[in-house]
Amino acid sequence: MIENISIYELLTVSTILFFIGLYGFLTRKNLIAMMMAIELLLNAAVINFVVINKYLFPDMLQGVYFSIFIIAVAAAETALAISIIINLYRLKTSVAITETETMKY
């Protein structure tokens, strides 16, 4: 319970974070940047879990545990993504999203 900060501010922050992440994902042309945007999205979720746990249901730590798992999984996800992106770089010497538009219709 943090002094004179209500749940609403925190949730607002997470929501803003979520939409920043979404915006970034939809607009960045660089795959690495898009991965960052994904991280923002995940962090928004993490914040949500922690805040809700802390403010609404402080007697159990489900949300906190969940957030830890999210972080861990996110790391794995990123690692995999990076490896594939590197592979793409090997083939194309570029990490632009525009390189991945050959298959369509």
Partner: protein, 638 residues
């Protein structure tokens, strides 16, 4: 009295047909000819036996000939009370028809052995003749409307087959199709009439329908349509069928073309037997025609008959194809029979017209068959149908000449011939009941005499002609029928018909009135005289007259353009416009719309393929956007 043996009258011809039909390429022509003749001889014998047995040895019920059933069995059930029977009905008219049909058919069989000699379809021809005989016999002995309709159609088919016998001649094919389709169209009316009659009369059986005290006649007024009783409509529609078969105006157009068939066929089917089926139908249903709505339908019959006989006679004046002349005279004579029925009443001597009509049917069968067979033997001799190619044939073929003359006299009502008596009764009947028709009839009698003798003189007298090979008299097989029929067409006049065939089945005695006869005879003779004057020696009067008539003559010569009218309606309007447009509509609109649905789907899928742009971020937009839109929908829209 047991008449069950009459079944053989039907069985023998059909067996012959099947026999000849299935083995048509294995049986020798001569053999098949003999088979046909023998079969028909037996049939004729049976019919004569039946006639004698019925008329002279069967007791009458209170002075009336009774209705007997040779055999009667259930054929198919529509509902509990409405069913089709098959059977053999024996009463005066059916027996008379049996005699007529079997006699003429026998003669034609004998005649054909000579006439069709050497034709490659010889066996097939006899097969078809037997088929026709079977169908015609079945028609005349029908016990109910549906049976008569069934055999009616079979008769039509065998007529189709026989007209189209020379199927490699396009004109013959066309004629056959025309005959079938026109009669078929008429039969449409017949069928609807039967169905209506079956529904309102509650039965198809003649015994039930024709019973003067029966339900069908008693409450004819039960339901009406457009001011007429439905029963009357049914009768009129049935008469339409009869008019089609009997070539009454305006459904007569098929008859002249039907002359494309072999001449014996014309003699049998299109002169003596099948074409009188209409008359027979009306006679068969006479009580209904007479009692329902005070014989309204009967008046129609009378006038249709009168008009047809007049028009046919006029057209006959101008034709040159001898068979067509005879065809039109047939139409005119059948008109006589119709009008005789039309003017007839029911009881006793009042029913004179009925009797006269039947009598004329009988005599006409004889002399018209005779004339046709004579014409056949002439055509056989000089291989042409046109009187321009003929003349002075009396020296070459005496028998044909004499018999033809007898026939001509008989049809013109020359005194003491059969035609004289029967026609005289018709005139008398017309005179008693309907004056305008009487005068028409009288006038037609004159015309008949004139055109018959125009025919006669220009064939056997007139100009000497040089034939490339001299015409020779026909073989005996053809001469015998001629002589027999010639005899009949005199003798038939001395049968006392009024003691056998009457409207109410009761006997009456005809009192011969000399005034009427004298008038008729004088008219006839004047016609003959005029023809003698015109055509005995080649003169230019005919041309003068025809030019004098001018427009009217050409109209008549083209049979008043009725054919052309029909052709226009069928070919242009129905075939070209209606069915053509339907076919187009089906190919393009109906089918097109079905195909259109498919094509539209495919093209739509082409249209939306851009959605799958291959750009990951577009997908992401769709993903997030879709999710949020769903949220909005469930939260706010619904």
């Amino acid at each position: 009295m047991d008449f069950s043996y009459t079944i053989f009258i039907l069985l023998i011809p059909i067996t012959t047909f099947l026999l000849l039909g299935f083995f048509y390429n294995r049986i020798k022509p001569a053999v098949s000819g003999w088979i046909g003749v023998t079969a028909l001889t037996i049939v004729a014998g049976l019919s004569y036996y039946t006639a004698i047995k019925y008329f002279f040895y069967t007791p009458k019920l209170e002075g009336k000939y009774q209705t007997l059933y040779g055999i009667k069995m259930n054929w198919m059930n529509f509902t509990d009370k409405l069913h089709i029977d098959m059977g053999i009905l024996l009463d005066p008219i059916s027996i008379m028809m049996l005699v007529v049909v079997s006699t003429i058919s026998l003669m034609v069989h004998i005649y054909s052995r000579g006439y069709m000699d050497g034709d490659r379809g010889y066996t097939k021809f006899f097969a078809f003749l037997s088929l026709f005989t079977f169908a015609m016999m079945g028609l005349v002995v029908a016990t109910n409307l549906f049976q008569i309709y069934i055999f009616w159609e079979l008769v039509g088919v065998s007529s189709f087959l026989l007209i189209g016998y020379y199927y490699e001649k396009p004109s013959a094919v066309a004629a056959a199709k025309k005959a079938f389709i026109v009669t078929r169209f008429a039969d449409l009316g017949f069928l609807i009439g039967i169905l209506l009659m079956g529904y309102y009369g509650g039965s198809y059986d003649f015994g039930i329908l024709n019973n003067p005290e029966g339900a069908a006649i008693m409450n004819w007024a039960s339901s009406s349509f457009m001011g007429l009783s439905v029963i009357t409509w049914a009768l009129l529609l049935m008469f339409m069928g009869g008019a089609g078969k009997s070539a009454m105006f305006p459904l007569h157009i098929w008859l002249p073309d039907a002359m494309e068939g072999p001449t014996p066929v014309s003699a049998l089917i299109h002169a003596a037997t099948m074409v009188v089926a209409g008359v027979y139908l009306v006679a068969r249903m006479f009580p209904m025609f007479y009692f329902v709505e005070d014989g309204y339908a009967l008046h129609v019959v009378a006038w249709v008959g009168a008009i047809s006989s007049l028009i046919a006679a006029i057209i006959a004046l101008t034709q040159y194809d001898i068979k067509r002349v005879l065809a039109f005279s047939t139409m005119s004579q059948i008109g006589y029979m119709m009008l005789a029925l039309g003017v007839s009443k029911f009881d006793g001597h009042e029913g004179l017209g009925y009797m006269a009509s039947m009598w004329h049917l009988f005599t006409h069968a004889m002399f018209k068959a005779l004339l046709f067979l004579g014409a056949g033997s002439i055509i056989h001799a000089i291989h042409s149908n046109f009187m321009q190619d003929m003349g002075g044939l009396r020296k070459y073929m005496p028998i044909t000449h004499i018999t033809f003359l007898i026939g001509a006299l008989s049809i013109s009502g020359f005194p003491l011939t059969a035609g004289f008596f029967s026609k005289d009764e018709i005139l008398a009947a017309a005179f008693e009941h309907n004056k305008p028709i009487y005068f028409i009839t009288l006038f037609v009698a004159g015309l008949t005499a004139f055109y018959m003798f125009r025919l006669y003189f220009s064939i056997f007298w007139g100009k000497k002609k040089e034939y490339e090979h001299t015409p020779h008299e026909s073989p005996w097989s053809m001469k015998f029928p001629l002589m027999f029929l010639a005899f009949m067409s005199v003798a038939a006049g001395y049968i006392s018909f009024s003691e056998m065939v009457t409207a109410d089945r009761a006997i009456f005695h005809i009192h011969f009135d000399f005034v009427g006869a004298a008038i008729a005879v004088s008219v006839g003779l004047s016609g003959i005289a005029l023809a003698w004057f015109f055509y005995k020696k080649p003169t230019d009067y005919p041309e003068k007259i025809s030019t004098a008539f001018g427009r009217f003559y050409t109209w008549t010569f083209h049979k008043f353009y009725i054919d052309e009218l029909y052709l226009f309606i069928t070919r242009t309007i129905i075939f070209k416009y209606i069915s053509g447009s339907f076919a187009w509509f089906d190919q393009n609109v109906v089918d097109g719309s079905m195909r259109g649905i498919g094509n539209k789907t495919v093209s739509f899928s082409k249209l939306i393929k851009g959605l799958q742009s291959g750009k990951l971020q577009d997908y992401a937009v769709a993903f997030a956007g879709g999710a949020f839109i769903l949220v909005l929908i469930v939260l706010y829209v619904l």
